[in-house]
Amino acid sequence: MTHRLGSWSPPDDTDTALAVRGVHAGHPGAPDVLDCVSASIGAGVRTALLGANGSGKTTLLRVLSGVHRPTEGHVISGGAVLAHDRRGLTAHRQRVQLVLQDPDDQLFSADVRSDVGYGPTNLGLGAAEVAARVDEVLDLLGITDLADRPVHRLSYGQRKRVAIAGALAMQPQVLLLDEPTAGLDPVGVQEMLAALATLEEHGTTVVLATHDVDLAWAWAEEVLLVVDHVVHQGNVVDALTDEALLASARLHTPWMVDLLSRLGLPVPADGRPRTVTDVADAVATRAPAPADR
């Protein structure tokens, strides 16, 4: 089932980049991993898909990408129901690309250039056009210097970015990323988020699956929270200030929300604090602490 949270109102249907309606999914002989899930991803809306390990997060990503066919329900892609046949999937894959958590599952050529060009080549593009697309996405992600490096000599963070480049070379409208910051050190996370911001400027809708609530708080506008095979959708403030819901999802409250609520300070729906500086400002400008605390 899907629950709407708080005051959030669904975006206009014309603005929906990708959606699922009444989706059941799972493996034969096992209970459903997703149980009648509906959710929608607005075009250009930073959407975080939050859930604990084993919650069904990755299954939802795979359903959205067309790889996992739901046993019931539909994927809505580009305003129409996705047909899981060759033609339907081929069209869908040019709209929606999934980047897996482990880049090694996604890199299967020996060097960066041929790996990034794999998708465009499969689209039947000529060598010149493939090369142009490869150069473009490498440039966009700031990894042009890696173009001629062997994949197995790259660091983990570099391989993560090459995997994203491979998906981007398909020029998708929606990019689904499974734990893109996992395993990266703080600078690596910053670089990844900067790269995603560049993509958004170029019109790509980014969906980021994570179990890092602090990251989701700082980054997302909309949240899909996967709890026990069910999805709760709402805007980031409604979703991540609901302590009971987060606890049921085996997640904790973002520290910024936790701290402000312990200090008795409100979390504004607009202009929520997203950095340590924002929090410091919110605390500094508050009324003096009551003496009885």
Binding site: R62, G66, T90, R93, L100, D105, F108, Y118, N122, H152
Partner: protein
């Protein structure tokens, strides 16, 4: 790999491999050597009953895994039964040069029942005995340690490689790697190569990771489990009775 899951969660899992082998391999040998379709059918039904009612193998799984061998048996049996050439006196059916004779059909029927019964007996062992138990039993009966070790490492690595293969294949499909025949062949070549590279890197990392645990010594094996006398006796009775029936029918 549903058989593997079934074996790990089987109520018979903690039974001694010896007593299960006595039952399953005993019935397997009776089924595989009998000249009587009736005895084969009886063994087949007996094994199926034991599997579904006492060993609690999930019925859906049982029929699903039997499907593969059943297809081979069907195709093989039809080929056995076919007779090419002119009409004979004992034709069951004939269309032009292709026909079936009574003896051919009888042979095909016997072979089919024998194969299905023997396969079922093997499945009963497979669905109740995790591979680690089989391997340690093989070591106990004298298969050289290093050979069993290699098999144990294979078993340990298979699952990770299958997962990697499925993930890589999905990633390729996501980038239209199977959208045309040409792309599909190229993608399969890359898939096999990528899985092989993965196998090598996994092996190298495992070797490295084990250095701190005392290096790569023999793979530890699960200990033998005590034999249940009632189970073993029941197995002996079932195998003896069906075996005797098979011999009597032949006489």
């Amino acid at each position: 790999m549903q058989l593997d899951d079934a074996a790990w969660s089987s109520p018979w899992r903690r039974r001694s491999v010896a007593e299960k082998a006595l039952l399953c391999l005993g019935l397997l040998l009776v089924a595989a050597t009998t000249g009587s379709p009736v005895v084969a059918a009886v063994v087949g039904l007996l094994v199926t009953g034991l599997a579904l009612l006492t060993a609690m193998v999930p019925p859906g799984l049982w029929w699903r895994v039997l499907l593969g061998p059943a297809v081979f048996v069907a195709v093989g049996a039809v080929t056995v039964a076919l007779d090419l050439g002119a009409a004979t006196g004992s034709d069951v059916w004939r269309l032009g040069p292709v026909g079936m004779t009574t003896s051919g059909v009888e042979t095909a029927l016997l072979v089919s029942l024998r194969a299905l019964a023997a396969t079922s007996a093997m499945l009963l062992l497979a669905a109740t005995t995790p591979m680690v138990e089989v391997l340690s039993a093989l070591r106990r009966v004298g298969v050289p340690g290093p050979v069993v070790d290699v098999a144990a490492v294979m078993y340990r690595m298979i699952f990770g490689l299958l997962e990697a293969m499925a993930a890589i294949r999905e990633a390729q499909a996501g980038r239209l790697g199977y959208a045309s025949g040409h792309a599909a062949r190229r993608s399969l070549g890359q898939l096999v190569a990528a899985v092989m590279v993965r196998a090598w890197t996994r092996a190298a990392r495992l070797e490295d990771g084990l250095a701190g645990r005392g290096g790569v010594e023999a793979v530890p094996m699960v200990p033998a489990r005590p034999v249940s006398l009632p189970f073993a006796l029941a197995a002996v009775v079932l195998v003896t009775v069906t075996g005797a029936a098979s011999v009597l029918v032949a006489l």
